[in-house]
Amino acid sequence: MTAVNTVNAPDLPPLLENRAGPTRLATRLVNIWNYRELLGNLVRRELKVKYKNSMFGFLWTLMNPLLYLAVFSVVFTLFLRSGAPRYGLLLLSGLLAFNLFSNGVTAATTSITGNGALVQKVWFPREILPIAAIGGELVTFFFQIIILFFGLAIFGQSPEWTMLWLLIPTLAVTLLMALGAGLLLSGLNVHYRDVQHFLDLALLTWFWMTPVVYLFNLVGQPFIDRWGVGAERWAMLNPMTPIVVIFQRVIYNPTNFSPEKQQETFSLMLQPTSWYLENLAISAAFGFFLLFTGLKVFGQLERNLGEVL
């Protein structure tokens, strides 16, 4: 369906058009914009419903990172003896970014099948559903980030204030990728429910391929050993890696520690800002490609969503 403002009858309300064949991309984007209020309400619904019948409600959202912080700090400083000091903070810095992506994609993928009744009964731009699912995860992310900053304050550690702005484009690229993948998979999942099961495995693999739990030095070093200094760049070709590394660099901020420690453990993470931006740009390109593909595929699949569900 298409919303078109008729030129010859300006006083009349918009004309909705439902015609055979796919809807033009521009029109779909206009429709999504027109329904932005629904987007807000759906995000609100996601959050409300999530903790509706629980006593502590939204506190649970905050419990999750707190627990991570506590458990991983204990495990990795006492038992596993990671080289990174205050390992919990390091882990959480990267984990929150990766979780935003992976939870967003997962929620988006099931957003249409999960709202089947709605899709069959009422028309609205279908893209709203996966977007709202990701929006809900974004709100959760913000609350968890606050917890992380509290954690930093408690340990007397400070983020890299001069690079803080870098988080904004990084967050944007994360959302771009989540949105692209979410659109692509949510449409496909209606036709093949295998998608959601496949996704779990794919995200798990992706998680362990990304330096969240281990340090970027561990991934970069083998490249340097083989091809010399600068080759660590190749490790950045995993589009999630620049995102996670930037979060760790800015929030965890290795410069909190002694120069020896920095050299020993974080040498490859201490790059000039331009280096991060360049690598982020590659992720952004990948994100745009995903979004474009997602929108295209979604546009094709959207047409008979109501019938296949």
């Binding site: 369906m1 009349l12 309300p13 918009p14 004309l15 909705l16 058009e17 439902n18 015609r19 055979a20 329904y35 209020e37 629904l38 807000g40 309400n41 759906l42 619904r45 409300k48 419903v49 509706k52 019948n53 009744a117 709605l118 899709v119 069959q120 009964k121 009422v122 028309w123 609205f124 093949y192 429910r193 295998d194 047409r303 008979n304 109501g306 019938e307 296949v308």
Partner: protein, 464 residues
Amino acid sequence: MTVAVQIEHVSKRFRKHSEPAKTLKERLLTLHKSTVEDFHALNDIDFEVYAGETFGILGHNGSGKSTLLKCIAGTIQPSQGVIRVRGQLSALLELGAGFHPDLTGRENIFLNGSILGFSRTKVEEIFDDIVDFSGLEEFVDTQVKHYSSGMYARLGFAVAVNLEPDVLLIDEVLAVGDEAFQRKCIERVRGFQHDGRTICLVTHSPEMVRNLCDRALVLDHGNLLHVGDVGDAVTIYRRSLDPNFHDGDGAGGSLHEGQSSSGDSETPTPATATNGDPNGSADSDEERQRLVLDLMGDKAPVTITRSWIDGPSDGRTAFRPGDQVVIGMSFKAPEGTMVRARLSLHSHDGVHLVSISSWDIRGADVGPTSADNNIARFVLDDLPLLDGHYLVTLILQSPEETMEYDRREQQLSFDVHSGQPVHGRVVMDIALETTTDSEVPTADEAPDAAMPSPSTSGSPSIAT
């Protein structure tokens, strides 16, 4: 006239899978055998709904009427053609679609409002009306999952109709709730009509179409049989229900052939022939009648050839209460058949006043008939009706009433003017008895208060 909903050559095909393959594995396994078959839910449907009218969509189960409504609502896309809807649309395809069980009534009202495309400010404006209308004031902050199904539906209806969309689509949802709520819904729909909003109503109840709609269309197996006059629509719909209807020469598609063979190249379907012509010219009327008869073949040997009402004796245009009304019909039938003639009266707003057959009247049917012309006349002495417009339906049935030969659905009508300021519809002999404490009531003293009778022009006195 402004067109509110425009349906332009819309077809819808569904893929008929023997068993929908839901997983990739199943898809791959069934790849080699093509079990896919097309099912035509709608065939080249073309009509317009004008702004401000109430439009009925009639059809038996599986005729494609719900598919059509879903296409208008935009939840499914046509395989061919275009649907244009002017204005804000609200679809009642299912009451409370989009309610989340874990949210409260209040939260759901706002959520549902925005799902239907209305702004928060708009919903806030009419929030109290919605709650009022649903009658759920006490439960508005209760989670919807604790609602009964009736409460759920009431809230859904309340949201959809109070948002005041320009176009409202209703899919047989008025059948929910108790009688009081149903009455409220009908009232609301009438309010909509009064406000000049457009309504598309899908139903298989001819009564509802007759009561509420200005025009109607009839669908049969995805084909448009008729667009226009409500009475005709009901007649054609009833015929399409007859199992013999499709035995004549195939499915509804033959109607198209019948039409094109009549030589009118500008009207591709019989539907467009009567489109926008609510009264149906005699020509198209007869043509359609003939088409339907063609379809029925020899199975409809008894047909009404003419029907009439003998007007008031002194050349007035309307009857008075107490007049004699004669409603007649002439009909053709094979020689020596017995036929049951039936008369049915409706008021203009759809209230069924009477249905009476020759058997009810005199314990015998009409006949044996002669081959060419037979006449049956219903004589109503002392017309017991008050002011209004009344619609006449004439029916010929087989004596066992197992089969309906022919009917003239509300093609005749008459008016009644009493010349008195009266309320109500029926003339009744009602006496008034008045007493005071000291008196014993006696029937003799009560004035005769047959309501519109000219003799009671003075206002009757009522004891205090």
